[in-house]
Symmetry: C2
Subunit: 437 residues, 2 copies
């Protein structure tokens, strides 16, 4: 395989034109769209329009005339088409953490009524920490406990007569493991539990089928694969048959049945609108809408199925080229080898016995790559984890088919090989651990 062959793959890629939707800095190879998606070309102008015309000129009247008030539902309806949900089922609002609080609280309240004995939330120890932190808070409040499994294979056995909710992030942020939403939702239901899914690393990255796969509650992130901008609003979805059964506790005025009646008593709106709380963040929702539109633009080219096919091809190439071209440096694949179980990322870790592994070099290698214009992520290992894969430091590379090219992956592996073979990663400047997200 040569760089020209990678270029040939790009020339044959039906999604290649979609890259033109984005502002991409110079020669950067950006493999961190699973942390922060890149800037769509449409965003700057749209936000400018909202600021100058809708806010600056329209002022308070724009809540009606520019449809600001319905932005959470309008953007939500667009996101719904990406995750197997129907219109009116999903709202864009608040942060992922806040939305998780809403839906997990509702799930626990529902179980307290239907099955008071159930007091366990099952999740993964390596779930994204904010999910575990929110679950800990609600577990304390509801007198529940959090049961964390060490490995995905242990999840079915962890579901029992005590389980109230199975709470998982569909794609694990560290390893890229893609859970079987249909199978695990069915297993949760068979055990009498509810299935709650965080789509942070799957919405916009691969086809998600919330209704068809039996999810009960879902949340997701706006600033990763949805390209909504730093700290973009998140989203919440509840299965239509469940949504009207419970109030969520963040009962702010925008979730009220008649917010502008200004009545002193709370009456929840029908449907997913009751999962809104405060005033919609208009500028941020306008930017998020531009990001979501970059994914909707893929529809005539095959939509999420085509995005998934390219994502798998990119991660296969990445893993294969690392195997071929970076042999001998102790790098191992830490993401699933089976494409069916892999999200849109490739994770690598050093064999503890290798030179770089002994030196704890993963962080320095990622920094040296960034200095060369290849942006990936470092994720520290969890020293207390049961599995060696979870204890290991991770080099994480996300692929985002709307703008990642095969030649980007080729160049990234080429730079990785250069960094590993050279002395860069031993330089002290690459070993000063800073803040990474």
């Amino acid at each position: 395989m040569t760089r020209d062959e990678a270029l040939a793959l790009d020339a044959r890629d039906p999604l290649a034109p979609l890259r033109e939707q984005f502002e991409l800095p110079g020669k950067l190879v950006y493999l961190d769209g699973n942390s922060l998606g890149v800037l769509p070309r449409a965003t700057a102008q749209r936000v400018q329009q909202v600021i100058a015309r809708e806010w600056g000129q329209g002022l308070i009247g724009s809540w009606n005339s520019a449809d600001w008030m319905t932005l959470p539902q309008r953007v939500g309806d667009k996101i719904a088409t990406l995750v197997g949900a129907g219109p009116g089922e999903l709202v864009a609002a608040d942060s992922t953490s806040v939305n998780l609080f809403k839906v997990l609280a509702a799930a626990l309240a529902m179980q307290r009524e239907d099955a008071p004995g159930r007091s366990v939330i099952v999740s993964e120890r390596s779930n994204f920490p904010t999910d575990l932190y929110i679950a800990q808070s609600l577990a304390r409040q509801h007198g529940c406990t959090l049961r964390l499994v060490d490995a995905p294979e242990q999840i079915p056995a962890a579901l029992d007569a005590d389980t109230a909710v199975l709470m998982l992030t569909q794609v694990n942020y560290r390893t890229g493991w893609l859970h079987d939403m249909a199978g695990l939702s069915a297993a949760a239901h068979a055990a009498g539990a509810l299935a709650l899914w965080d789509l942070a690393h799957s919405a916009g990255a691969l086809p998600v089928a919330l209704n068809a796969d039996g999810a009960d509650f879902a949340v997701g992130c706006g600033y990763k694969y949805l390209n909504g901008g730093p700290g973009a609003p998140a989203f919440a979805w509840v299965r239509p048959g469940l949504v009207d059964r419970f109030r969520q506790p963040l009962s702010g005025w925008l979730g009220h049945a008649a917010p502008f009646a200004f009545t002193p008593g709370y009456e929840p709106a029908a449907g997913i609108t009751r999962y809104l709380c405060g005033t919609p963040p208009v500028l941020a929702l306008a930017a998020l809408e531009c990001g979501v539109d970059t994914l909707l633009a893929a529809r005539p080219l095959g939509g999420m199925a085509a995005i998934r096919a390219k994502s798998l091809a990119l991660t296969e190439c990445f893993a294969g080229w690392v195997r071929q071209r970076c042999a001998g440096f102790g790098l191992e694949l830490a993401s699933p080898a089976d494409g069916a179980r892999r999200g849109s990322q490739v994770c690598l870790a050093f064999d503890e016995a290798s030179e770089a592994g002994r030196a704890g070099a993963a962080y320095a290698v990622v920094q040296a790559l960034i200095a060369r214009g290849v942006v990936g992520d470092f994720r520290a290992g969890d020293p207390a984890a049961a599995r060696s894969a979870d204890r290991a430091d991770i080099l994480r590379f996300g692929v985002t088919p709307l703008y990642t090219r095969f030649v980007d992956v080729w160049d990234a592996v080429d730079d990785l090989r250069t960094v590993l073979a050279g002395a860069e990663w031993r330089e002290p400047r690459f070993n000063q651990r800073g803040l990474v997200t």
Copy 2:
């Protein structure tokens, strides 16, 4: 009094140059800055810079290099100077409703530990509904009740040995009544209760002294007098001596002591940072910072004291000119006549016996004024309220001394007189009630 005399007041106004900070549409007289502040000139360019340079070019690296991660604290420190709080005491984040949930939950948790018998939240029936809705949710969860008084004068007597928290909005959104924060906080403390203040209509409108006046918890809004843009992030403050005593329930990763350690167990950060939850909304915080800066620009001209002096002069003129020039139409002042008890707004209501009162014309008059370029607000009366003042429909006019001129108030009253004397408010097109915020 003549229009020229109003112009002369503007010519003598030391704050007059501050109006240049804003983009104001044409001839509009905008008296709704207490609902949505106007657009600062700096905002469009600053947000553009964040989008194009920090996000577009800097991408994920901007979390460090552009200090995105500390925006909640940095903007919070600026807001703190406007509300009598110290550096490191206040964060800008989430919505007012979400922040109220955090601080009220913490207050109730604290009382449950210190004084388990206290199970009453005291507030006003005419408090802004979202505050009451959030309180209802937490009251249900904590087994508490909400005790709502009908009139501000009844608050001290409502505080007793059962009271856990006194929760008030410092300036009532409907009537503009300005509570005595020092006196009522002291009364709450004397009764063994905690004092929680919503500054939605006071932060940026008048001097607030959270520490000096004995407040325990506070929240506030970013898009009214702080000019942060539609749905701007809100803020939360906790008295430094209390802040480390309790976790707030929205325990997301940004409130963790070490969010980037990615440890599975939640450990709250020290200080007000534990009141953060999800990832900071960067675009919205950048816009909010520009809005807050328009108030900080008043500092060399006398700061919040000078803003307050002008606000009182504007509202005195408004009320006086209405008395002089709109006599005979049954309009009555619904905001406090005593300046010491009045926020930065003038509220009017029709005597029920007047022609407009009998016709329920308040909404139509506000709409007719908007059609003439004078933007105020209508707030419907609460038919079930005990006091006639609360049952009445309200015409609400906010003054915002950074950009409201005396001649604007003159022109507004002139148009009000024209509308009342004419037939406009009887036209059906002004009586179709739409969505107002």
